[in-house]
Structures are given as C-alpha cells and as structure tokens.
C-alpha cells in the first residue's frame, strides 16, 4: 500500500539571476512500513526532497500525494497540521531546544497537537523509556551525549505517532558506536510499522534500509 506518491516534482531555487534546479522531474513511490535510504552527493537534492516530503517546503511543479491527499495544494495551516500529525523529523544536528527540558523537547509536537499537560508528560516518559533514557526527564539537552541527544530527537519525532519518519543524516554527527545504536533504534521502529525515509552518505547506514535510492543532479 502506497503512502507517498511523487510524480514529476520540480524545485528551483533562485539566487539573483541564477536559477538552480534542485529537483528535476523526480518520481518516487513509498509503501507503508518501508525503510528507504536516499543516497547521493552533497547538493544533489536529497534534503530538498526530504523537506518537500515533510511539508517544510513546497515544490514548484509536480504532484505529491500523501495517503491520497495532494500535499502541494495544502495551505499553511494544513501544512502545519501535516507536519505535526503525519510526519516526524530527525535532524543530523539533533536540533533539541536548549532552553527547554528533555521532557519538554519530546512533548513539543504533542503540545502543538493540543495534548494536555498530563498526557504530554505520560507520553514523553514512555518514549524516554523506549529510547533507553528513563529518569532523564528533567535534564537539559546539553547534559546528554550526542547519541543520547539523537535518541531524544527520535523520541520527539515519533511522539505524535506519525505515519512517516524523515531522517536527515541521523548518524552524521555521531561516532560509529552511537550510529549503530541509532540505526538499531530506527530499525526497531520500522519493525513496529513506522515508514522511514532517511537521507545518508554512509553506505553502512544505508544498508539498514529495505531500499536504497540514489540521487544525482536532482534526479533519482
């Protein structure tokens, strides 16, 4: 069953007079529960594709269907709801918010979804336990190691039980040992039915995926 259907997606960035076509007629189909790795050189358009799939950016042309809904036609509010409910992001630099506690970081998407304080705390504790960081609720992100921070970031990404997890170089800032732990965690989540689309440079990391897609010069 297809969860994502992308057809002839085009994205161009303009810098002054120069136009840079980052995505050129990209077509992609992702099945529910699939683990996909997207590989390619820097600047080939992997992250742009991931951003468009995550509703962070919009394509200039083409069609992007998510569970049969045309995401390209969403307004800002619908896009925000889409980012909150349907997808979860994991970033290379974790992007945890230092001014908030670990539990507040995890429950961020829940808060925007309108969950009550009690529900948020309960869910965040469950997720912390799941990623092996039970008892670290009140700590701050800077008190954690890189691997722990990425685990918190994953917990945050899945807190709202999204359909798809989008991971942009999730092990890029980690050592090998922590990288393996993170990939094992992602594999576990995939085993529980979560669709994962991951961008990576690392072939070893890509091997965890069911399917590897290569991108070059804006094309798949």
């Amino acid at each position: 069953m297809q969860i994502i259907t992308i057809k002839n997606l085009v994205k161009t960035y303009q810098s002054g007079d120069a136009k840079n076509e980052v995505l050129k007629d990209v077509c992609l189909e992702v099945n529910k529960g699939e683990f996909i790795a997207i590989m390619g050189r820097s600047g080939c358009g992997k992250s742009t594709l991931l951003n468009i799939m995550g509703g962070m950016d919009l394509a200039d042309r083409g069609s992007y269907l998510f569970e049969g809904m045309q995401v390209s036609d969403f307004n800002r509010r619908q896009l925000a709801h889409f980012r909150n409910k349907k997808v979860g992001f994991v970033f290379q630099a974790f992007h945890l918010l230092p001014e908030f506690s670990i539990i507040d970081n995890i429950s961020l998407p829940l808060g925007y979804a309108g969950a009550k304080s009690g529900q948020r705390k309960k869910r965040a504790k469950q997720l912390l336990e799941m990623v092996g960081l039970a008892g670290r609720e009140t700590g701050r992100p800077f008190q954690l190691s890189g691997g722990e921070q990425q685990r918190v970031a994953i917990a945050r990404a899945i807190s709202n039980q999204p359909e798809v997890l989008l991971a942009d170089e999730p092990t890029g800032s980690l050592d090998e040992e922590n990288g393996i732990k993170i990939m094992q965690l992602l594999k576990t989540l995939n085993g529980q039915g979560l669709t994962i689309i991951m961008v990576t440079h690392d072939k070893k990391v890509a091997e965890y995926a069911d399917r590897i897609i290569y991108m070059a010069d804006g094309k798949i």
Binding site: M56, G111, R156, N160
Partner: protein, 419 residues
C-alpha cells in the same frame, strides 16, 4: 491555548533576570502615567462640578481696593466700580453668553417737616435694577419703565406726594434728590418714572449687597427703578454701591468666560481694584492650572520611561529572536505555524508589559488616596485600566513586529540548514 501559555511562561522564566527590570520600569512608568491621568480626571471633574454650579447659579463678582485697609476698603467700596456705561459695554459684549445681573444702589435720607415744624426722617434705598436682576429677585417680569416701592418706602414717597412744595427740606447734601410728584419719582427735570407698591407675595425680603461690604437691604425700604433711568441720573450724584452678578446662559457650556470678564472689569478700573469672584471656581481653576504644569512634567517623565521600556524591549527581543531562530524553526518543523510563533512571542511581551502595567495600576490605585488634587484627594478611575490594557497591547504588538523585522533569514529551512 494552554500549551501556548506554557511555552510563553517557560520563555519568560528563562529570561527572568532581564525581564524583572522591564517589569519594574514598566510599573514605574505606568504608575506615574496613571497617577497623572487620575489627577487630571479628578481635577476635571471638580472643575466641571464647579462650572455646573456656576451655570446653574448666579456668581457674585466682588471687588476690593488694592491695599487691604479695612477703613479705606469700606470707604472705597461705596464708590461705583462698574458704572452704568461699563455695564452697558459688558452687556453688549457678553449678551450671547452671559446673563448679567446689575443694580446701582443709592441711599437717600428723606426729611419731613411735621405739623409743629418738627423734622422726621426716613431712609430710602433707590435701586436701579436691570430686568434680569428684577425678575430674579421678585419672580415676575417688570412692566416697561415701571418703578416699584417697598411698603415703608412707598409710605415715604406718599408723604412726599402730600407735602407742600418746599416743606420737604434737604438737611444734608444728596438727600431728597428724588422727589415724588404726580405719581412719579423725578430723577432730573423731564425724567420721571411712575411707581407702585411691590405686589404682596414678592419673592425676597431683602437684597444682598455683595461688594466691599456685606450688608442686606430690606426690600420694604427700597424703591426699585429701571436701569435705563441711569441715563438721566445726575452724573455728579453719589452712588453707594453696585451689585453685579453673572450667570452662564447656556448651562451645557462648560467653558468659563469669568477670567476674561474679570480682566475686562479690571481694565475699566485702571487696576485700582482687585476684582474677584466670591466663588471657589476661580481658585480651583488657578490651582488646576498650577497642577497642570506639574502633571505635564510627570507625564513627560512617564512617557520617557515607557519609551525607554519599549526600546529596551525591542533590543532584548532582537537579541532573543536571533537566539531563538532555531526554536522557531524546530517548532515550525513540528507543527507550529508562523502565526503561532508570532503569538508566542507576542504573548511573552504582552504578559510582561501587562504584569508591569498591572503593578503600576495597582500602586496607583493604592497611592491615589495619598495625593490630593485641587479640592479633594485623587480618585482612581477604572478607565485607566482599559487605557493601560490598550497601551500594553499596542506596544507589545509594535515591539514584536519591529523586532521581527530586524531579524534576517528567519526561514525555518535555511535556519535548520545553517545550524
């Protein structure tokens, strides 16, 4: 909404060290501003009340000589201060705005020779009254060119009528000038006015003399003549006094013409007299003017303080937003709209200003009873709460918009890429 408030509170708590200062400055600025507003409103209300009283009642205008010598004052007070020509000039100038009440008072002593040649006397007050004053005193309009006499004065006039020519003797200068003959009082050759007794049930028993000396004249001793007979009144005659009162014609009119009127009267007298109104109103207005200068100064202080708070807040926000680019971008990635992010920022600043403003209003409400305005202690006006609320809303929104405009490259994708 709860989560929005939660995030706002978290951000405020994270920045509490600098925000205490903003709250303190805001509280001081608002305290001064609201106190000034309360003082201004209180003074306005007091003045409006006095104006209303002035509009509803007659305001006696009094005068005294420059040197406060009681004897000299008494002597000089018996002189005509606003003479008939002056009155006519004032009437012409203020007939649209003011009702003028004017009376010239002349005391006459009448001497009558009895059958055995003995002399008896009677004091008669001749009052040259304008129509306004007459109607106000007696409650009915005077017939044209009709003079009225009180009971005792009427008897005296009748005695004069009955006396043979020459039997009424002038024992002193100025007495018996106004002779009664053929049903008329004669002021000069060719100028006489018919008189009749004041009808029973007249409104007043006496007339207050308001200038220089305070004294009441019994109406039964008075002959009341139309003011226009002053035209033929011998200019050399001594007059005792003038009674002069004013009243606003339009009761809705809150503007006061009194200061202008007093200046005019003072000019007529070449500064010989100190003219004043026996009403608290002018005193209040003068004190209000003095306080206005003070209020203006403090208002300027409060405005400068609030401007400093606003500019400081914009500066703090500029730094905070630069730091919070990541927070906004991450929030965007997990479902926040740009509007939501703005609302979080706005909520933070608004709550901050509201806390400071609320404290300022509270201090002002508590301190209001400790200050006094022109007449009473300052009242607290709840409308100030609305003003402060609107001020906080507008300045918060302004601060946020200006600070947001000052932060470049806020697009979430770019921010997340750069970090």
């Amino acid at each position: 909404m709860r989560y929005l408030l939660y995030r706002v509170w978290k951000q405020m708590w994270n920045n509490r060290r600098i925000y205490w200062l903003i709250i303190f400055e805001m509280a001081v600025g608002i305290f001064v501003l609201v106190t000034c507003l309360n003082l201004t409103f209180t003074n306005r209300e007091v003045l409006a009340r006095y104006r209303q009283e002035m509009a509803e009642g007659m305001i006696p205008i009094q005068w005294e000589v420059g040197e406060r010598d009681k004897e000299a004052e008494y002597e000089n007070a018996s002189r005509l201060v606003i003479d008939y020509d002056g009155y006519l000039q004032l009437e012409r100038e203020y007939e649209k705005e003011l009702n003028l009440y004017y009376t010239v008072v002349v005391l006459e002593t009448c001497f009558f020779e009895g059958k055995q040649g003995e002399l008896s006397t009677a004091e008669v007050w001749y009052l040259f009254m304008n129509d306004n004053m007459f109607e106000k005193c007696f409650g009915f309009a005077r017939e044209n060119d009709q003079a009225y006499a009180g009971r005792r004065a009427y008897k005296s006039l009748s005695k004069m009528e009955r006396a043979e020519e020459g039997t009424v003797k002038a024992a002193m200068r100025g007495s018996n000038e106004f002779m009664a003959r053929h049903g008329k009082i004669w002021f000069s050759k060719g100028c006489g006015v018919e008189y009749k007794e004041i009808p029973a049930g007249e409104k007043t028993e006496y007339i207050d003399r308001t200038s220089g000396i305070t004294e009441q004249i019994l109406v039964e001793d008075c002959v009341i003549c139309p003011i226009n007979f002053m035209d033929d009144f011998n200019a050399g005659e001594e007059t005792d006094d003038v009674i002069f009162m004013v009243q606003n014609k339009n009761m809705e009119d809150q503007s006061s013409l009194l200061p202008e009127l007093l200046n005019k009267i003072s000019d007529m007298q070449d500064g010989r007299y100190i003219i004043y109104v026996s009403d608290e109103y002018l005193k209040m207005e003068k004190r209000a003017q003095e306080q206005d200068n003070l209020v203006r100064m403090f208002l300027a202080v409060s405005i400068v303080t609030l401007a400093i708070v606003t500019v400081s807040m914009i500066g703090i926000l500029l730094i905070a937003l630069q730091k919070r680019k990541k927070t906004a971008a991450v929030a965007f990635a997990f479902g926040a709209t740009e509007v939501r992010n703005f609302l979080e920022l706005f909520g933070e600043v608004f709550l901050l200003f509201l806390t400071g403003g609320g404290l300022g209003v509270l201090f002002s409400a508590v301190a209001a009873s400790g200050f006094s305005g022109i007449a009473t202690e300052i009242a607290f006006y709840p409308i100030c709460v609305v003003y402060v609320l609107v001020f906080c809303l507008v300045t918060s929104a302004g601060c946020c918009l200006i600070a947001l405009a000052g932060v470049k490259n806020r697009e979430p994708i770019k921010v997340l890429k750069e970090l």
